[in-house]
């Protein structure tokens, strides 16, 4: 990972970044030649079929994976947080799970627990603070994960298909919460992977379409979904969108 000269306004700068799993002929090229710049305050959606590299790209950007090639810079001066498709909640109370994130960032435990209650208020789960986290429904667990991210007051929030494993009602709740978090800080950078194109339209200002580990299209959301030029310029992306919207 390079900490090289990136424009001040850019939270992420990727130059021909690659991620490869394994070695030799049997290596899996999860990402190839990905060049991307994401500025502060942007709302970027990664879309594409299963296995196209969306989650790998998010993990690379969050520092969970090293690039196998190319360069990846992220602004370390900003607080980053990531929410996963299936959040990991420990076998303890909801409050402790939220406090854990703060404690791991250096906050005292007592203060972490106090801030956790505030965050749980924000996601409407204050009444569940003392319940066992793993006894909550899927939607509630995802809200706890969002509360954990919220409590950290991130300036960069990465979401890996945060609603894909939820029922429609929970999907709406969690999406509303993401909108609420994003609205709280217009300068916050939001990057998320999603299969839900309606959600992409509602949350994103920019769409990056990936196929087989490569970025095939990178457009403002209105151009991606409205422009007639998509079919001519990015036929694969157009086919994907058509397929998803059928």
């Amino acid at each position: 990972m390079s900490a090289s000269s990136a424009p001040v306004n850019h939270v992420f700068v990727l130059k021909q970044a690659a991620v490869r799993f394994g070695l030799g002929a049997r290596a899996l090229h999860a990402l190839s030649d990905v060049s991307l710049q994401i500025a502060r305050g942007e709302r970027v959606a990664f879309i594409g079929a299963n296995g196209c590299g969306k989650s790998t790209l998010l993990r690379l950007m969050h520092g969970l994976l090293p690039p196998s090639g190319g360069h990846m810079h992220r602004d370390q001066s900003l607080r980053h947080a990531m929410v996963f498709q299936r959040p990991y909640l420990m076998r303890t109370s909801v409050q402790n799970n939220v406090a854990l994130g703060l404690w791991l960032r250096g906050q005292a435990w007592a203060e972490s627990k106090r801030l956790a209650v505030d965050a749980l208020h924000s996601v409407g789960l204050a009444d569940h603070a003392l319940r066992a986290a793993r006894k909550l429904s899927g939607g509630q667990q995802q809200r706890v994960a969002l509360a954990r991210a919220w409590a950290m007051q991130p300036r960069v929030l990465l979401l890996d298909e945060p609603t894909s494993s939820l029922d429609p009602h929970a999907k709406r709740e969690v999406e509303a919460l993401i909108q609420q978090i994003a609205a709280r800080d217009p300068d916050m950078t939001l990057v998320f992977a999603s299969h839900n194109l309606g959600q992409v339209k509602r949350l994103a200002t920019r769409v990056v379409y990936l196929e087989q580990g490569r970025v095939l299209a990178d457009l403002p959301v209105h151009e991606f979904f409205v422009s007639d030029g998509l079919a001519q310029r990015y036929p694969q992306a157009h086919l994907f969108v058509k397929g998803e919207l059928v």
């Binding site: 993990r59 996963f84 990991y88 854990l100 791991l104 793993r134 006894k135 954990r148």
Partner: protein, 246 residues
Amino acid sequence: MTSFTDSAAMALNLIFSLDSNLMAIVARSLWVSAWASVIACALGLVLGAALGVSRFAGRNALLALLNTFLAVPSVVVGLVVYLLLSRTGPLGFLGWLFSFKAMVLAQAFLVLPVVTALTRQVVEDAEGLHGEQLQSLGARSLLRSVLLAWDERYALLTVMLAAFGRAVSEVGAVMIVGGNIDGFTRVMTTAIALETSKGDLPLALGLGLVLLLVVLLLNMLVAAVRHWREHEEGASGAMPQLGVSV
């Protein structure tokens, strides 16, 4: 058959009359194995958890060695501890040979690989499932191993019970390093072997029944922990299907 039924009746009589000789042997056995399990668990849980999350050159060779130690016969462990503690051995200055401490040490050596290997497996499985999310919250590998071990505490409680079962039911190691001295280092398994060879079947059978009862109680505890955990936690994590055998 008559001798068996007579012996069984006399054995039951010894148990229900709380025969002092039998009770002393049982108490000594339980103490030796409890101390050995505490020592082995104190080391094995830490080592196993650290091995579960750490990656280093030679790790696979170390794991192969660890798994090999799982199958080491208890008499071999007894022999090694005997050589260590014998007057000319490196620990001979302690003067522990043929003592309670020697038996504790031998059983701890015997059980340590069991605790370490099973803990490593439990924590490594949890790391595979959840390690990345803890990492994204800021937990480095050492802290991750502690958090994952804590989160898998019910699975590890089963490991501890299995370790105690292995310790209390072994005969070879304590026979060699303890010497089976009456009233001093005689434990259930060594007493059973001795009394059988002497033809004192009621005492041997009585001790055998108590040993079976101890192992039965341990297995019931293991099952109760598993059931309680599934009920309380709605658990989905790894839980080794362990039992205790004589």
